[in-house]
Amino acid sequence: MPAPSSDGLLAALSNDLAAAVDTVGRSVVAIHARRRIPASGVVWQPGVVVAAHHTIQREDDITLTLHDGTSVSATLAGRDPSTDLAVLRMADASAGAAPAVAPATDAPRVGQLVLALGRPGASVTASLGIVSAVGGEWRTWQGGTIDRFVRLDLSVYDGFSGGPLVEAGGRVAGINTSGLARATALTIPAATVSRVAGQLLARGHVARGWLGIATQPVRLPPALQRSLGSEAEAGLVVVNVEPDSPADRGGVLIGDVLLALDDRAVSDPADVLAALGGDRIGQPIALRVARGGKAERLTVTVGERPRARR
């Protein structure tokens, strides 16, 4: 076969991009749940649309515009501010919008050519760019766990949040949002979207573990380190214990210095959040604390964070 001309290469790339927009665009809907221009969402499974939590500003009277222009009403199945995800159920699951093609499971690569799609109105819109940074699991400032850090070098326009990040080959790598970081577009990876959407569909919220303590970082003086036989230079002093909380029942006292959870040293309140995933609810967790200059071990049964504290 003769090599395609360079002209043909460009045309083929252009065609692939347009075809990816066309295919995935059929699963991209407009979400009317705020006063300004509509936001975007992706049909993730039949009758279920994933959106960016921050774009859903009212919980009643939500309508969707599908790719073929039909309008469908939807109800909010649940939302998780910590990952900026929300899930909507279409009133008519048989409405003509197929779920997005199989989500990508492998990590995006730096430099990979990607498209961000949106539907801030009747037509699908596209922007082209590259993946600029990929990192490991990270926690949002509200304590949500995102499986992978994915930053884009790509222009995002009004109404793009909730739209898909599409690999040039046509697979959906995740959901884009401007709601998790200032002045930059991030992608919530498909694995995180599927995990959170599953929990939201099952219980309407994402359950998180809870001890019922408030802590502040403190330095451990060398003498205390020696008497504890500990290398750690910092711990977390307990400044509040909620009455009748798991920590209260487990014997944690105000003034205890938390040194480790499950034998992993803690020195930042975020370390505590990280140890309290929804899967820990009902399970015992081992606390190592300094009390009166001596190390003690306590066992606390992790509770579920009350919804008002979410």
């Binding site: 360079s6 790339l13 347009a18 050519l113 009747a122 037509s123 222009s155 326009y157």
Partner: protein, 205 residues
């Protein structure tokens, strides 16, 4: 159709193709000077000396045009329509190679597009982007072509073209970071109105 991965392994060939594309556009793009300074770009539309640019680029009755071959010619503003942000410049030349055009209403979101212009006084700078949303046939900005592409003021009046170098629009403004172009079918109608004696918003200047 080859996958994108294999396409990107052909990156040097892509570079060459983009270079050829930019050269093809350069041969139909002019510089427009008004009031002694560079005001923007224009596109050669008719062999007999008709150049299309934006109304906001050719704000007065006269302008000066630098052709792709370097000739500098005085131009008369033959027609101007601020509503469509279009102006037609007449230059004394009958040997110009007009731009190839194609109807922008056939574009699909995600298709590659290329813009040529003179942003910040840099002659014939090229930009690559994609169709953000094609013209929807409506009035107002919705009826124009929206491109995800990095433009600057000197791109005004210059061509936005598809990946084969066919002009799909005249770059007119930047709104919220998007490049907004007057689609070719609107330009063709404007030029047709001039040729048939003027109608609608077209005023001979």
């Amino acid at each position: 159709m080859p996958g994108v991965e294999s396409l990107l392994r052909g990156a040097p060939a892509l570079d060459a193709a983009l270079g050829e594309l930019a050269e093809r556009l350069r041969r139909v793009t002019v510089q427009v000077h008004a009031g002694g300074r560079s005001a923007g770009a224009g596109v050669i539309w008719l062999r007999g000396g008709l150049v299309v640019t934006n109304a906001h680029v050719a704000a007065g009755p006269r302008a000066d045009v630098v052709l792709p071959d370097g000739r500098a010619l005085p131009a008369r503003v033959a027609a101007r329509d601020p509503r469509r942000d279009l102006a037609a410049l007449a230059v004394a030349a009958d040997d110009l190679a007009p731009a190839l055009r194609v109807d922008a209403r056939g574009l699909r979101a995600g298709e590659l597009v290329v813009a040529l212009g003179h942003p910040f006084g840099v002659a014939n700078a090229v930009a690559l982007g994609v169709v953000h949303r094609g013209p929807n046939g409506g009035r107002g900005l919705g009826g124009w072509l929206h491109a995800d592409i990095r433009l600057a003021p000197g791109n005004s009046g210059g061509p936005l073209a598809d990946i084969q170098g066919r002009v799909v629009g005249i770059n007119a403004m930047i709104v919220g970071g998007l490049g907004i172009a007057v689609p070719t079918h609107v330009v063709e109608r404007f030029v047709h109105e001039i040729e048939t004696g003027g109608r609608g918003g077209v005023r001979a200047a």
